[in-house]
Symmetry: C2
Subunit: 359 residues, 2 copies
């Protein structure tokens, strides 16, 4: 079904900065750059997976200026990859638009198909992933915006959902984008059987996306046009910032996809997680036969289902832990039950008040 001659591009979003993996993650060392994936960064794992699944002629990684050096170091194995650094983060809509005009300015046509992928997710079956990606690129070449959805395996409250229509040849129309639901609503959604998790991966023709931005985010569209000479000049920082910084921070889902004329979804059946917090680490990292992820100098005795990560030089003795998280970075220590991992922000804010350099 692949249309001959269609240029494929891939864009990886690696600008995120969060503290949900605090104290291992910091503003200056966000999740995608941590060696969470059995010693590799999630960014490197993403690049590796995309190289095999997409085989893009052009690959672009968009990050933040303060992460650029670390990102380039991670990308040493992919020397053809272009790296763009946003002077400030403005959520996903400006970032996607920037990638489109940058690719056009570098000679890619409106008909080229671009897939956008987060840099910090986990995927448990690369082959099934590649099949879904193939379907999505093929569908996008025919028109519309094609998202990749994930068949839900639990009533997750931490993910957005998509409601979809009938699946025809692996693709279904998207009927609605649904916000992160409360627990009872998540159960209802699952029972309905016609929803998917929104994975944040989507594929489109560059011309299609720019037209949708023009229609639904006219200010962004104007700014993107103003970016063209700046891109041609090599993105000098002051000019880049002057146009980019005033942009409204907006997600591509909310700004474009919810209003776009034709959005469809490829229901993916591969195991997937956004690795949103420490509780998800056992998905990504190697664990022992009792379900513990133990890294660094740790004496673990009779522990189960626990995450004990020691980046310090001193010893951690863990006795009888069940479903706990212990993370030691030498300058800070976090201890909590895995079930509280989504609330780590509560302590991070209090630590920030004590000492900003620890966050």
């Amino acid at each position: 079904m692949a249309e001959a001659g269609v240029v494929r591009c891939a864009m990886v979003m690696a600008g995120g900065a969060g503290t949900r993996f605090w104290p291992a993650s910091r503003v200056a060392r966000p999740k995608q750059l941590l060696p969470l994936a059995s010693g590799r960064s999630l960014l490197a794992a993403t690049m590796d997976r995309l190289t095999r699944a997409v085989g893009a002629q052009r690959t672009l990684v968009v990050t933040s200026a303060h992460l650029e050096e670390q990102v380039r170091a991670e990308l040493a194995a992919w020397p053809e990859t272009a790296v763009l650094s946003e002077p400030v983060g403005r959520n996903t809509a400006p970032c996607v638009g920037l990638a489109c005009v940058w690719l056009q300015e570098s000679g890619v046509s409106d008909d080229a198909v671009l897939g956008v992928f987060p840099s910090d997710h986990w995927i448990g079956d690369d082959e099934a992933f590649a099949e879904s990606v193939e379907l999505a690129y093929e569908a996008a070449a025919r028109g519309g915006i094609v998202t990749i959805g994930i068949r839900p395996t639990a009533p997750e409250t931490g993910y957005g959902y998509l409601r979809h229509g009938p699946v025809v040849q692996g693709v279904a129309p998207v009927l609605a984008f649904l916000e992160k639901p409360a627990a009872p609503r998540a159960l209802e959604l699952l029972a309905g059987g016609d929803v998917l998790w929104n994975s944040g991966m989507f594929v489109f023709r560059i011309g299609v996306m720019l037209a949708e931005i023009r229609a639904h985010m006219p200010h962004l569209s104007e700014a993107l046009e103003a970016m063209r000479p700046i891109i041609r000049a090599g993105l000098p920082e002051p000019e880049f910032r002057r146009v980019y910084a005033p942009l409204e921070a907006q997600s591509i889902d909310y700004g474009v996809m919810e209003h776009a004329s034709e959005v469809c979804v490829v229901p993916g059946s591969f195991p997937w997680s956004d690795v949103g917090h420490w509780d998800a680490l056992p998905l990504v990292a190697e664990s022992d036969h009792l379900g513990n992820v133990v890294q660094g100098l740790v004496v673990a005795e009779d522990c189960r289902g626990s995450v004990v990560v020691n980046e310090s030089q001193r010893v951690i003795a863990a006795l009888g832990l069940e479903d706990m998280v212990v993370v030691d970075t030498g300058d800070a220590l976090l201890v909590m039950p895995r079930s509280r991992a989504q609330e780590v922000r509560r302590v991070v804010e209090r630590v920030r008040e004590l000492d900003e350099t620890l966050v």
Copy 2:
């Protein structure tokens, strides 16, 4: 009832070395010297309590040679207190015998009453304690060995028990010493109603104890006689060690009290704990309204009944902990549920294999 002219002596046993409070306790810094009692050492708290309860004419602290300097520093507020350092630990029987002959050699008569007290216990009601101590000294002045027992408040498996006969004027005959019981046995004992916890505190006339040692531990008795000239010479280390080191390590309970002709007990009604492990810390140290003992640089969010002790300079963030223990000494960290505190030895042994200096 106090008999006029009876000399009262007190002896505090401060030679113990344990790792049940690891990593805070080390061979070189045992429990009695830790600032567990709201910033004070248990030894200092014991001295303070005895000063008020006993008012002894002579007070003696027996410790180990390698702890002597720290013990003397703790005793700065009690300058009249004599400190004896055993060259090696040989359990309580040699230690008690040594105290008896040392006191005799310093001019105390056989009729003087000596009370022996552990240095590392917690007592929750100093007034009730003083009443029991008073009863015990009075009873001991009349003869026999008088222990102080504690009315059990739970079927504890970590304590030895005493079975006793009818209580007359606050004193009862001891019928049997019972080993630490298994849980079902502990329940039976409690139901019987005629048992007390063995607190390790006991009072006797010096002549009575030495006679019992002569009768039941003749080798120890001979060694104690051989110690007299060494004591008079100021306990020079090589001679002290030459006589003391070959002694059998034996507890006073097993070696003497279980065989002694007349042993009775004062049932104490004061709250008491041997502070045997981290789980007992909330008894001793200040806790917040949610039952947490938090010491040092700690951000605790929504924690209950937990012990978080930070002796390091870095921050500990604790989120959602329930009945957990987190102890950070800068060179080692222990994390466990409070319910596992009695098993800390399991990790300590493994840490010792890694690095002996950490134990």
